[in-house]
C-alpha cells in the first residue's frame, strides 16, 4: 500500500473546514454574481488607460519614432525598459505553475491560476514594445522566417534579438496552453452549475465538452506534468535570452557573463511582487481569504527576500567586476551609473530592490497584509528602475564624448507605458470576473491532505504511538 503522510505542523492551505462543494461554490461565486461597483470602476479606469495608450501608439506610428525621446545615442529608452520589465513580471506565473509543481509545493494550487493569467497578460504587454519600437510596424512580420519575394531574405538567426522573438512567442504559447488546459475542467464545473442558458452555452464551448472521466484525468495529469517539465527550462531560458540582448553586445556595462542568472533572479523577484499585489487585491475583492491565506502571502514574501538578495549581490558583483577588470571604459560606465547624471535612478533601484525586501526577514512583516502590499509595489518600482539603469545609464554616454546625451521620455512614450497598464488590468478584470480565479479541481485535489478539516482530524493522530499510527494509516485508504 501507499503510505503518504504529510506532517500537520504546517498550517493548512485552505482555511474554514471546507468540503468539495464549498470549494466550488466559493470560487464560482464571482462568476455567478453581478460585478460590484468597484469592479466596474476599476474596469473602466483600465479601459481609459488602454484608450490613451492606443492613442499614444497611433501618434507614434503616424508621425514616426521622432515623437519619442530616443535618439542616435539612446537607441533604446523607455520602450525596451518597459519590455524587459513586463517580461520579468511574466516570469512568476510559469515559475509558480511549473517549477513549484515539480517541487511538489502544494501551496501553489491557491495562486497558480491567477499567476498564470498574470503571466499571459504581462507577456502580451511586453510584446507591444519591441513591435512599436520598429517604427515601421507594418514590417514587423519580417522578424519571422516567412518566405518572401526578396530572395527569400531570412532573418539573422545569430542575433540575440531574433532569439528573443522565438523565446517570447514560445513562452506566450506554452503559458497559454498550460493555463487553458488547466481551465478546461473548471469551465466544465461552471457550466454544470450554470443557471442561465447563455452561461451554459458559452461555458459549454469554453469547456470543450469536458466531462471528467477517469481516463481524461489520467491524461490531464500526464499533460500537466510534461508541460511543467517543458516550462521549467523555458522560464529560465526566456529571461536568459532577454539578458543576451544586452550581454552579447560589446557595450561597457552590458558585456557581462553575470547577466543571465541576474536577470532570471530579477524576473522572479518582480514577478512574485506583482503576484502579491494582484492576489492581495483579489482575495479582498472576492472574499477568497480562505484560499489565498496568509501562508501563501508569506511564502511569496520569502521568495521575494531570497531573489531580492540575489539581485543585490549581482549589483555588487557588477561593481566589483568593473573595478577588477581594470578596463577604463567599464570602470567609467559604472562610476557614472552610481554618481553620474542618472544617480537618482541607481539609488532608487538600490533602495527599492536591495534594502526594502530585507524587511521580510521579520515574520511579523511577512505576515502583514498592508506591508506586503506596499512592499510588492515598491519592489516593482525598483525593478523598473533596474531596467532603466541598465539601458539608459549604459547608452547615454558612449565612446565619443560628442555623442553624449541626456534622455527623457516624451508623452507618447509615457502614454504607451500607461496604455500597457490599461491592457493588463482590462484583461485582469475580465479574467477575475469570467474565469475561476483559483484552480477548483486542483484545490479539491489537495483538500484532503492540506485542508483545515484534514488538519483538525489528523492532529489527534500525531499523539498516537507509531504502531497505532501505521494501523490507522493502513485502514484510511
Amino acid at each position: 500500500m501507499h503510505l503518504k503522510y504529510e506532517s500537520f505542523i504546517r498550517e493548512p492551505l485552505v482555511d474554514g473546514e471546507k468540503n468539495y462543494s464549498d470549494v466550488t461554490a466559493d470560487i464560482c461565486r464571482p462568476i455567478e454574481q453581478k460585478p460590484t461597483k468597484l469592479w466596474y470602476f476599476g474596469f473602466f479606469v483600465a479601459l481609459a488607460f488602454l484608450g490613451f495608450g492606443a492613442f499614444s501608439v497611433f501618434w507614434e506610428v503616424y508621425w514616426g519614432l521622432g515623437t519619442w525621446g530616443i535618439n542616435h545615442t539612446m537607441g533604446w529608452g523607455w520602450d525596451i525598459t518597459n519590455f524587459v520589465w513586463w517580461v520579468g513580471i511574466g516570469h512568476a506565473g510559469t515559475l509558480i505553475s511549473a517549477i513549484l509543481l515539480l517541487f511538489r509545493q502544494h501551496w501553489r494550487t491557491g495562486v497558480n491560476r491567477a499567476a498564470e493569467a498574470m503571466t499571459i497578460f504581462a507577456v502580451m504587454c511586453a510584446g507591444q514594445f519591441p513591435i512599436f519600437h520598429m517604427g515601421r510596424v507594418w514590417d514587423a512580420m519580417y522578424v519571422l522566417p516567412l518566405p518572401n519575394t526578396r530572395g527569400p531574405l531570412w532573418p539573422n538567426f545569430n542575433s540575440a534579438l531574433l532569439w528573443d522573438v522565438f523565446a517570447i512567442s514560445t513562452y506566450f504559447t506554452v503559458s497559454l496552453l498550460f493555463w487553458y488546459s488547466g481551465l478546461i475542467p473548471d469551465f466544465a464545473t461552471v457550466r454544470d452549475r450554470a443557471k442561465t442558458k447563455l452561461r451554459k452555452r458559452l461555458y459549454g464551448l469554453a469547456s470543450f465538452g469536458w466531462t471528467g472521466t477517469a481516463k481524461n484525468w489520467q491524461r490531464f495529469e500526464a499533460l500537466s506534468l510534461v508541460l511543467a517539465g517543458l516550462s521549467t527550462p523555458l522560464v529560465l531560458s526566456v529571461h536568459t535570452i532577454v539578458s543576451f540582448d544586452f550581454a552579447t553586445s560589446v557595450i561597457p556595462g552590458w558585456h557581462a557573463t553575470i547577466f543571465p542568472p541576474y536577470f532570471v533572479a530579477g524576473a522572479i523577484f518582480s514577478g512574485f511582487a506583482m503576484v502579491n499585489t494582484l492576489l492581495i487585491l483579489v482575495r479582498k475583492l472576492y472574499r477568497l481569504e480562505e484560499y489565498i491565506t496568509m501562508g501563501h502571502i508569506e511564502a511569496m514574501n520569502k521568495v521575494i527576500v531570497l531573489t531580492g538578495s540575489i539581485v543585490g549581490i549581482a549589483y555588487l558583483t557588477e561593481l566589483f567586476m568593473a573595478w577588477y577588470s581594470q578596463v577604463v571604459y567599464e570602470q567609467e560606465a559604472f562610476k557614472w551609473r552610481v554618481m553620474g547624471p542618472y544617480w537618482w535612478s541607481y539609488w532608487a533601484m538600490m533602495t527599492c530592490n536591495v534594502v526594502s525586501p530585507q524587511f521580510f526577514w521579520f515574520k511579523k512583516l511577512r505576515r502583514n497584509i498592508v506591508f506586503s502590499f506596499i512592499l510588492s509595489i515598491v519592489v516593482n518600482i525598483g525593478m523598473w528602475f533596474e531596467r532603466f539603469v541598465i539601458i539608459a545609464t549604459t547608452l547615454y554616454r558612449d565612446y565619443i564624448p560628442s555623442n553624449w546625451t541626456y534622455y527623457s521620455p516624451t508623452w507618447p512614450e509615457l502614454g504607451f507605458y500607461l496604455g500597457t497598464f490599461g491592457l493588463f488590468f482590462t484583461c485582469f478584470f475580465l479574467f477575475s470576473k469570467y474565469f475561476p480565479v483559483i484552480a477548483i479541481a486542483e484545490i479539491k485535489f489537495v483538500l484532503k491532505t492540506t485542508g483545515d478539516k484534514a488538519h483538525k482530524e489528523n492532529l489527534a493522530l500525531e499523539d498516537k504511538s507509531l504502531e497505532e499510527f501505521i494501523e490507522i494509516a493502513n485502514h484510511a485508504h
Binding site: 531570412w154 466531462t211 471528467g212 484525468w217
Partner: protein, 193 residues
C-alpha cells in the same frame, strides 16, 4: 457511437468510490466509466486502465521541433542564402542553440495539447452527456452499462449495496457529438430496445 442505457451510482467520498469500482469490476457488470470532479489518484489502476502514452507523443513532437529548427537554420545559412556575419563560420552551431531549444519546447507543447484534445475527444462545440450535474462539483459518479443481458433490478440492488448517495437509470449517447450545452437531448425515441 450509440445511444445506450446506463445505471449510475453517485458517491461523495473516495473510499466508497474505490470500493464500488472494485466490486463492479469483479461482478462481471460492464463498467462504462467513472466521472470525478478532480483527478483521483489510483482510480485508473483500480479501473484497470493502462498508463497513458501522451508523453511519447510529446517526445516525438519535441524532436520534430529540434530537427525543424536545426535543419532550417543550417540550410538557410549554408546553402540557401549564406551571409558573412563578421567573418564567423556559416554553420555556427552555438548560435543556433537558443532557437533550437525554443522550437523544441514549442512543438512539444503544441503537439501534446492537440494530441491530448484528440485523445480526450474535446474541442469547442463538442458535447457529451453529463450523467450528474454535480459530477464536476463534489460527486464521484460510477456509470455501469445496462446491456441486453443485464437484469436491471438485480444491477440496481447490487449498486445500492455499495452505499451510494443516489442511483439512477439514464438513456444517453455514449460518445460525443456537436451540440450546445444549453439544449437538452431527448433519447427515448432513438433508444429502440
Amino acid at each position: 457511437m450509440a445511444v445506450k442505457k446506463f445505471a449510475i451510482a453517485c458517491y461523495d467520498d473516495e473510499a466508497p468510490l474505490f470500493d464500488a469500482v472494485h466490486k463492479v469490476r469483479h461482478s462481471g457488470y460492464k463498467l462504462h466509466d467513472v466521472y470525478t470532479p478532480f483527478p483521483v489518484h489510483g482510480l485508473d489502476t483500480a479501473m484497470g486502465l493502462k498508463e497513458t502514452d501522451l508523453h511519447i507523443a510529446g517526445f516525438i513532437f519535441g524532436i520534430t521541433g529540434t530537427s525543424t529548427a536545426l535543419g532550417l537554420m543550417s540550410w538557410i545559412f549554408t546553402s540557401d542564402w549564406p551571409i558573412n556575419y563578421g567573418g564567423k563560420p556559416f554553420f555556427s552551431l552555438p548560435a543556433m542553440i537558443p532557437i533550437t531549444f525554443e522550437l523544441t519546447v514549442m512543438f512539444a507543447a503544441v503537439g501534446m495539447v492537440l494530441t491530448y484534445c484528440y485523445l480526450n475527444q474535446i474541442m469547442p462545440g463538442v458535447k457529451k452527456h453529463v450523467f450528474h450535474p454535480r459530477q464536476s462539483d463534489d460527486l464521484f459518479v460510477v456509470v455501469v452499462e445496462v446491456t441486453e443481458g443485464t437484469d436491471e433490478t438485480e444491477l440496481m440492488n447490487f449498486l445500492n449495496e455499495t452505499k451510494p448517495l443516489e442511483t439512477d437509470v439514464q438513456i444517453a449517447e455514449e460518445g460525443w457529438w456537436y451540440g450546445r450545452f444549453d439544449k437538452e437531448e431527448n433519447y427515448s425515441k432513438q433508444f429502440a430496445s
